[in-house]
Each structure stands twice: as structure tokens, then as C-alpha cells.
């Protein structure tokens, strides 16, 4: 193709686009924006958004191993929601473990999020005006930077009937009768693990609350003190209203964290999530369905989508904050 | 050095898809080597005009010429303009030297020439001892000088300044005012200077373009702007305290003031509502009934300001200001405000100057 004609079609095209849009386009700027966006968004599309859409669509298809075999409508959804590994209705109504990964995951959230939030706020307040608060905070936060798989192993170690310090502590305070292998008792294991999760996440919420507390103008607290407000009133009338917005963030991040729990449970209880799946969570069931024999890709996608459905309101809330 | 006149022809700028009109039909000629000041209150569109000249905005309508060249579609760097920002816009991560070298670096000037030109610019502005410092370590005045050095180092054909002195304290502002003026005339460069400070405009500008509501109200030399404000708006904007405007009716070659008395004018016999403008400094306050033109009132307050005194006189419920070197009148005195008919400005009911 001769150069001129290429040139002229190029001009033609840009003019035609401008005609369609109804305004002049700054082509230099457009090109620059594309150069900046394309590499990153391509990888994002290929390895994040694309696979996400694949899961959404794939949940309505039957799979032969890892390959799509045919449209089956809601069959995967029906099968998954009646699968006792996901929801065990009988046990759920009797409140007996295993209740299935979905109720167990939600139970974890209900216990974990308020506990870690309140503990974090408490520690942030406790440390706020002490000397050496940085060291104290670092100690509490350490668990959050540790690989979660290590956290799971540490919990296994802490709750060990022989070598675990938790049982050792019970012996020292004379509660010999309570000594047991906490993580293999079906009806209590999940609570022991939730406590471990709270142990880790408290550092995170403490960090956020600490920075919110640090940004409070001390003159406000001093003037409240001069006005005769006691510590409780000062907290209720000044500190709490100012750190309240952070609470929303702490709660949302806590929920996302619980939703993503995988390594802790895997390390403590293997791919089944404890004996007979008693503390299995959704992430673990995705892994089992997709990458353990027998492969059930459709089911894995449905379970992952259940997680997404729980996460969507959180995403909407974050988007509204922006 | 290439010198350039700037011409704006019917330039309009709309924002938000026409919701906001920042500039409306601006026409402006800036001559080669001229120091032109855009003066106006905030929101009058003067900064938008400057940004249109810089190429940071493209006009919605109209044309901009640098010399004979239409530059509407040229990028800021193609226009070879330099700009000094209100907050200086120094690159915080570069040293003073890095900042000044930056425009040369991106234009691929050789390192040797760069050194020469940086030395020249920094010596001219007396900042050759600050080269290795970071902007954060400098005082306001020093930052100002660095941003000026960065602007002149690459020998631009047009020099644009957006309220460059407004972040400095009063003393430094006076100092930099004369320094800027010296720099501009030494370099002989065309400069457009935006300010809301009329004193700055009067003292620096070769000509001043007064802007309001997105358009230019008057372009004139400082003296003429003060002597012959073309509209009541300009008249009240220039001068401190502003010009007094008295309502009246024109009839048979004379103006009858609402507050009593009349002034004869040499204008033709047209009639209608008019405003009579007298500058406070053109009044003389007297307790004796005068022979010439005067208006009568009661002293409301006296503000002695050292250099001069402002006498606020209540005339028919409205305050008229007079500026006197000294005065003996006190609150409550009945006084006459004398003026010469040659000091009177007459504006029609649309606010346009009549004579």
C-alpha cells in the first residue's frame, strides 16, 4: 500500500471518529493514555478479570476435567448448594459441626470481625500515649506480616496436647481437666482457630486505629478535659466520633481477610479442613473441587462465586468511599 | 533573541461543555517586548487568558497568534513560552540546579552550554550560592528567584507570570516588583503578568488590561487608566479608595444631582440618567459655602491614615469619600465637597464614559 493513501485514510479515520464523537480529540494525549494503560490493563485482563469472567460463565457449564463440556444451566449451583460439604442443613439446624464450609465461613466472620476490631481499638487506646508505643505496636503487629501458613502451623503448635503452651498454661492454673487436642475436637476446633485469626488481625485493626488516634488534635482532648469530661465521656464524645470512619474500613478489611482464609486452615487441618471438614472454609472447598481428585470445576467456580457474592457489597462500599 | 507579539482574536474558553464561560470574546494585542498586565478580581478570567496564551488550555473559539504564526494547536513547549506560577511549582525532588537545568535537559541542550546558561541565569538573579539546595530548604523569596531563573534560562520568546508575588510578604513584594521589571526590560522580552493587585499593575505594566466577568473592559497605559476609566466598573476598580459615583439626571447640558445642585457639562443636549464620578482625591472639604461646584453633606467619620486623611461624608444617606492631606473637620460638621468640573467623569445609564 502506498504511503499517501495510508496517511490519508489515517487522517480520514481520525476525522471520522471526531465526527462521531462530536468533539475534537487530542490524539497525542489519547496515544499517551493508551501507552500508559495498555501493558498493565492487559495483564490485569488476562490474569485477573478474564479468569473472573471465566468463572462466572463457567459456573453454568458442565466440565470434562478442566474443559467445558456443555451448558447445564443452574445444575452446578443446585448441586453445590445441596452439597453437605458446602451447606450441611441437618447439622446446621442442630448447630453441630461440620455444618459445611459456607456456614462455617460466615460463623468465622461473625466471631472474628467484632473481636479483632474491638481488641484492636482497645490496644490502640491503651498504647496511644505510652512511651515505647512503637515497639509495643510492632510486637502486636508482627503476626500480620508473617505468612499465614506459618500462623496455621503456630496454632497447631500452641494447641498441641503435649508440647502446646495453651495446654501447659491450663495445667499451671490447675485446669488439668480442660487439657485436650483443641484442633481435633470437632465441636470446638473452629473456635480455637478463630481465636488464632483474631490474634493475627488485631494487629491490623490496632494499626489503623492508632493512626486515626494520632491524627486527633490533642487540643480537642485538652479542651474536653477543661470542660470537665472524664475519660469515658472523652472517648464517647470526642475520640469515638473521630475514629468511627476507620471502623468501617477495619470491618470491611476484616471480612475480606476472613473470606480469603485458606492457608491457616490448610496448615492446621490439611486439605480437608480438620477431621471430617469441621473447620473447612469456602476457599478450601474451591481448592478441593478444582485441584484434588475428583476434579469438579463447575462446583469450584460456584463456590468461588459465592465468595464473590459475599464480597460484592464490600466492594460497592469501598467504591462509594472513593 | 526572538521577540514576539501576541494577538488574541475573539478568543472564548468554555469549561464543562459550555456550562462555565471562563473567557468571552477576548481581543488583545501584546506588542513585542511589552510588559502587559492582566488585572482583575478573582474569577475574572485573567488566569484562563494566561493559560490560553501558554497553551495549557486550547480556546473553544477564536485564534491566538504569536507574531504571524497561529498557535492554537501548538503545545506549550512548541510556543517557547516560560511561565512563573503563583506557588512557584518547583520540582520538589530536584535541587535548585536540577530545577533550572530541567527545561534545558528535556530540550537536549549540551551539558557545557547548560552550565553556561545556568551560571548566567543564577548570577542575574543572585542565587548562584543556592545551587545544591532542595526547594524545601529555601525561603519564599529564594524560591521565587529560582522559578524566575528556570523561566529565563532557556531564553523564551514570551514570559508569563501568574500572580508571582502574591505568596511573598509585603517588603519582599516591593523588592521583587522592581527586580522583575528590571529583569524584563534588560532581557527585552514580551511579558504577560496576571495580578489582582492594582498597585502592582500600575507600577509594573507598560499597559494594563482590566478584566471582569471573562472579558476585557479596557486596555490602557496606567496613567490613562486612572485618568480616563472607560466604564463605571473600571472607574471603581482602579484607585483607592474607589471613585465616588453620584446619581443624577442630565438635562439641557447640565446634570442635576439627586443629592441637590447641578453641574454644567460641555456635552450636547442629550438627556437621561447618568452617573457623575469624582475621585476622592479631587474633592476639597470646606465648611464655607463655596463659589464653584460642590455638594453638601455631614461628616460621618474621619479616618486619619498618616500620609493623608479620608473624610466620609454622608450625602442624602449615601457615603461620599474625600481624600485630604490634613483636615480639621469632625464628625457631625456640615461640610461642602468642592470639585473642579474638569475632574468630573460622566457615565451614561449603561456605565459607559460620556465625556
Amino acid at each position: 500500500m502506498p504511503m499517501e493513501s495510508q496517511e490519508s485514510t489515517g487522517v480520514d479515520l481520525t476525522e471520522r471518529i471526531e465526527g462521531l464523537l462530536g468533539y475534537e480529540v487530542d490524539w497525542d494525549k489519547t496515544k499517551a493514555i493508551l501507552v500508559f494503560l495498555l501493558p498493565g490493563l492487559t495483564l490485569f485482563g488476562l490474569f485477573s478479570f478474564g479468569p473472573m469472567l471465566y468463572s462466572v460463565v463457567g459456573s453454568f457449564f458442565a466440565f470434562d476435567g478442566f474443559d467445558v463440556a456443555g451448558f447445564v444451566g443452574l445444575q452446578n449451583w443446585e448441586e453445590t448448594l445441596t452439597d453437605p460439604l458446602i451447606i450441611n442443613w441437618d447439622n446446621l439446624l442442630a448447630f453441630e459441626f461440620p455444618m459445611g464450609a459456607l456456614p462455617q465461613n460466615i460463623l468465622w466472620m461473625i466471631l472474628h470481625v467484632p473481636a479483632s476490631t474491638l481488641l484492636g481499638l482497645g490496644l490502640a487506646l491503651l498504647f496511644a500515649d505510652l512511651k515505647g508505643k512503637r515497639i509495643l505496636r510492632t510486637l502486636v503487629f508482627l503476626g500480620f506480616t508473617t505468612p499465614t501458613v506459618v500462623i496455621g502451623l503456630v496454632l497447631l503448635f500452641v494447641y498441641d496436647p503435649q508440647a502446646g503452651i495453651f495446654n501447659g498454661f491450663l495445667r499451671v492454673i490447675g485446669m488439668e481437666g480442660m487439657v485436650r487436642d483443641w484442633l481435633s475436637r470437632p465441636q470446638i476446633a473452629i473456635y480455637a482457630l478463630v481465636a488464632g485469626g483474631v490474634w493475627v488481625q488485631t494487629g491490623f485493626s490496632m494499626l489503623l486505629y492508632s493512626s486515626a488516634l494520632a491524627s486527633i488534635d490533642p487540643a480537642l482532648l485538652e479542651s474536653a478535659r477543661i470542660d470537665g469530661a472524664g475519660p469515658f465521656k472523652r472517648f464517647k464524645d470526642i475520640i469515638w466520633p473521630l475514629v468511627k470512619p476507620v471502623t468501617a474500613v477495619v470491618v470491611i478489611m476484616g471480612m475480606i481477610w476472613v473470606l480469603r482464609i485458606f492457608a491457616i486452615v490448610y496448615a492446621a487441618g490439611g486439605p480437608s479442613g480438620g477431621p471430617n471438614h469441621v473447620y473447612s472454609v469456602l476457599g478450601l472447598e474451591v481448592f478441593n473441587s478444582a485441584f484434588q481428585v475428583p476434579v469438579e470445576y463447575g462446583k469450584a467456580m460456584v463456590v468461588a462465586l459465592i465468595e464473590l457474592i459475599i464480597a460484592l457489597p464490600l466492594a460497592a462500599y469501598i467504591a462509594r468511599m472513593e | 533573541m526572538a521577540m514576539t507579539g501576541i494577538s488574541l482574536q475573539n478568543v472564548s474558553k468554555h469549561f464543562d461543555a459550555g456550562e462555565t464561560v471562563a473567557n468571552h470574546q477576548v481581543n488583545l494585542e501584546v506588542e513585542d517586548g511589552e510588559f502587559l498586565v492582566l488585572l482583575g478580581p478573582s474569577g475574572s478570567g485573567k488566569t484562563t487568558t494566561l493559560r490560553l496564551i501558554a497553551g495549557l488550555e486550547t480556546p473553544t473559539e477564536g485564534d491566538i497568534y504569536f507574531g504571524d504564526r497561529r498557535v492554537n494547536d501548538d503545545s506549550p513547549s512548541d510556543r517557547n513560552v516560560a511561565m512563573v506560577f503563583q506557588n512557584y511549582a518547583l520540582y520538589p525532588h530536584m535541587s535548585v540546579k536540577g530545577n533550572i537545568a530541567y527545561p534545558l535537559k528535556v530540550r537536549d541542550v549540551t551539558p557545557e552550554e547548560r552550565e553556561d546558561r545556568i551560571r548566567e541565569a543564577t548570577e542575574l538573579l543572585h542565587i548562584d550560592d543556592l545551587l545544591e539546595k532542595k526547594p524545601a530548604e529555601l525561603s519564599g523569596g529564594q524560591r521565587q528567584r529560582v522559578s524566575l531563573a528556570r523561566a529565563i534560562v532557556r531564553k523564551p520568546s514570551v514570559f508569563l507570570l501568574d500572580e508571582p508575588l502574591s505568596n511573598l510578604d509585603a517588603k519582599l513584594r516591593l523588592e521583587m516588583r522592581s527586580e522583575l521589571k528590571r529583569l524584563q526590560s534588560e532581557l527585552g522580552i514580551t511579558a504577560v503578568y496576571v495580578t489582582h493587585n492594582q498597585e502592582e499593575a500600575m507600577s509594573m505594566g507598560d499597559r494594563i488590561a482590566v478584566m471582569n466577568e471573562g472579558t476585557i473592559r479596557q486596555v490602557a497605559e496606567p496613567e490613562e487608566l486612572y485618568r480616563r476609566p472607560k466604564t463605571t466598573w473600571v472607574a471603581r476598580f482602579i484607585g483607592s479608595p474607589p471613585m465616588n459615583l453620584l446619581q443624577g439626571t442630565r438635562r439641557n447640558g447640565a446634570v442635576e444631582l439627586a443629592s441637590g445642585g447641578s453641574v454644567s457639562t460641555d456635552a450636547d443636549g442629550a438627556s437621561g440618567d447618568v452617573s457623575l464620578g469624582v475621585r476622592p482625591e479631587d474633592f476639597t472639604v470646606s465648611t464655607e459655602p463655596p463659589s464653584g461646584y460642590s455638594i453638601q453633606g455631614t461628616v460621618d467619620t474621619v479616618e486619619p491614615l498618616g500620609e493623608y486623611t479620608i473624610v466620609n461624608v454622608s450625602v442624602e444617606g449615601r457615603i461620599v469619600k474625600a481624600k485630604e492631606p490634613t483636615t480639621t473637620v469632625e464628625r457631625g460638621d456640615d461640610v461642602y465637597l468642592l470639585f473642579d468640573d474638569s475632574d468630573v467623569y460622566l457615565y451614561d445609564d449603561r456605565g459607559e464614559l460620556l465625556s
Binding site: 494503560l37 501493558p39 474500613v249 | 503545545s75
Partner: protein, 303 residues
């Protein structure tokens, strides 16, 4: 200067009244309720790290002693045996898995920083079609669980031959991390003054020069935060390596730790030494660059 001071100028230090030693000490000590708060605070902080102290102790002691409680200190034997065993672990030696983890982590961090900053810049500065939609998609992915993308990526990597390779895992990490990095850097770049870019444009810089010489250096503190946080996340990641790394010579360190548990009696010494080796890198990085880590964490989620 001294002579110039007038007589009524205030003294430079408060007048020293003569206090006896005990009074001085009493003033220096915190009041009783405050001392109690210190005791509680230190007690809680120590309680929080007890499990890690146990892990550290166990990593240096023989199994026979750990079994009876690492907190029993009498007759303690210190040994590096557990570390040697972990570094030589038969399924996948830690000496290898730690290097594998670094091979995956370092490029994942570098690429995500560069590409993330490039995407964040237009998001912070320009308007373009679909900007709002793209933005919301980024947020959804930030809130979504990683399991959601595992199936699609598994098939993609298998089809392209990148399954069970360093590159495959790196690409997954980059694609997954770019969402939060873009959101984080966009928030930071919203604070970049317009005038700096305008000054650079007038100085003659192209948009790419502006990005390289103004935007990137300006973002340096935020980029360090991104680097530290992304490094710990990728290094600590467990799920992605479990899914995408199947050859034992490519195993990553976190992936191998559960395998060290063994079948019957858990060899706590081995598990502890492996855990300490794995967590040492992110924990040290956190301690050294704590300022950037915490600032980034707070900014990433609180803004």
C-alpha cells in the same frame, strides 16, 4: 549576643529548685495508674508474641525437649540441627525453596510497581472513556478472593505452556496485584500538584518525560510502600504456589511448610526452623521499612 540580652528577658531554663534525690525520682516515675497501664500494655504485647517466642525456641531445641514444653528452660540444649534438617528437607530443601520464592517475588514486585504506576497516572489525571467502569472492576478484584481466578489461570497457563514455571506464577501475581497497586498509587498521585506537570510541559517535557522525571520521583515514597507490602504478600502467598507449582524443584517455601509436619509425630523442631526461615525475610523487611509499610497499609485502605 549575651551582652545584648536585656535584663528582663526570660531565663533560658526554668529555675532550679533544690530537690532531694527521692523527690526527683518520684517526679520522674509515672503515677500509679499510669504504671499499671504500662504493666498491662507490656504484658499484652508480650502475650501477643509468646507463640512466636515458642516457635523460635522450638527451632533451636531437639524434639525430645520440645515435647515437654519449650517453656521449660532447665537443662536446655541449643542446636542448629533443625535448621540443617530444614535446609536439607528431602521433599524440597529450604535452601532451594527460599531461592525459588525470591525468584518469583522480586520480579512480581518490580513489574507490578512499574505497570501499576503507569496505569495509576492516567486514572489520577486524565478523563477517558470507561474510566469509572474500569475503576469499579479494579475495586471488585481487590475485594474478591484469589480462588476466583485460579481456574481460569490454570487453564491459561496450561495452554500456553507456562504452567509449573516461574514466569507463569509471576504473571498471575502481577495480574492479581495490579488492582490494589493502581488504586493505591492513584490516591497518592491525586496529591501531585497540577502546576508541577504544567511547569514541566511548559519547560518542554513530553508526557513520557513528565512521567519519568516528575511523576515517578514524586511517587517514590508511595512506591516504596507498594514494594514492601507487595513483597510480603507475594512472598507469603500460599494458595497460588499450591495451585501453579507442581514440580518439587520449583516449590516455594510457604508451600513446603505443611509437608514438614510428617505423618505421625509432628517434628516441631523441623517445622519451627522452616517457619522461621520463611518468615524471617518479610518480618525483617517489615521491621526495617516499618514506616513505609504502616503508612502504605493505612493509606491503601483508609483513603
Amino acid at each position: 549576643m549575651e551582652e545584648e540580652r536585656t535584663l528582663d528577658a526570660p531565663p533560658e531554663t526554668a529555675p532550679q529548685t533544690d530537690l532531694d534525690l527521692w523527690t526527683k525520682i518520684r517526679y520522674a516515675l509515672p503515677t500509679l495508674p499510669r504504671a499499671a497501664r504500662y504493666a498491662i500494655a507490656i504484658g499484652l504485647a508480650v502475650l501477643w508474641v509468646v507463640p512466636f517466642i515458642g516457635l523460635l525456641m522450638a527451632s533451636f531445641r531437639p524434639l525430645s525437649e520440645i515435647i515437654h514444653g519449650w517453656w521449660h528452660l532447665e537443662g536446655m540444649t541449643l542446636t542448629l540441627e533443625n535448621y540443617w534438617a530444614a535446609l536439607d528437607f528431602s521433599t524440597a530443601p529450604m535452601s532451594r525453596t527460599l531461592i525459588n520464592t525470591a525468584i518469583v517475588t522480586v520480579p512480581s514486585v518490580m513489574v507490578v510497581m512499574l505497570l501499576g504506576a503507569m496505569v495509576a497516572y492516567p486514572f489520577a489525571r486524565f478523563d477517558f472513556p470507561l474510566k469509572k467502569t474500569l475503576f469499579f472492576i479494579l475495586i471488585i478484584v481487590m475485594a474478591a478472593p484469589p480462588e476466583l481466578v485460579a481456574m481460569g489461570n490454570y487453564n491459561t497457563l496450561r495452554e500456553t505452556g507456562l504452567f509449573d514455571t516461574y514466569l507463569g506464577l509471576i504473571l498471575v501475581h502481577v495480574g492479581w496485584g495490579i488492582g490494589w497497586v493502581v488504586l493505591f498509587l492513584r490516591n497518592f498521585l491525586l496529591g501531585l500538584p497540577d502546576e508541577l506537570e504544567e511547569a514541566a510541559r511548559i519547560d518542554g517535557a513530553s508526557r513520557y518525560q513528565i512521567f519519568r522525571t516528575i511523576v515517578l520521583p514524586f511517587s517514590a515514597p508511595a512506591l516504596v510502600s507498594v514494594a514492601v507490602i507487595q513483597f510480603t504478600w507475594v512472598w507469603n502467598a500460599f494458595f497460588f504456589p499450591m495451585v501453579f507449582m507442581r514440580s518439587s524443584e520449583l516449590y516455594l517455601a510457604p508451600q513446603v511448610l505443611p509437608m514438614m509436619k510428617g505423618r505421625l509425630q509432628i517434628d516441631w523442631g523441623l517445622v519451627a526452623a522452616g517457619s522461621i526461615l520463611t518468615m524471617a525475610v518479610p518480618v525483617l523487611l517489615f521491621i526495617v521499612l516499618q514506616r513505609y509499610y504502616t503508612r502504605g497499609m493505612v493509606a491503601a485502605v483508609a483513603d
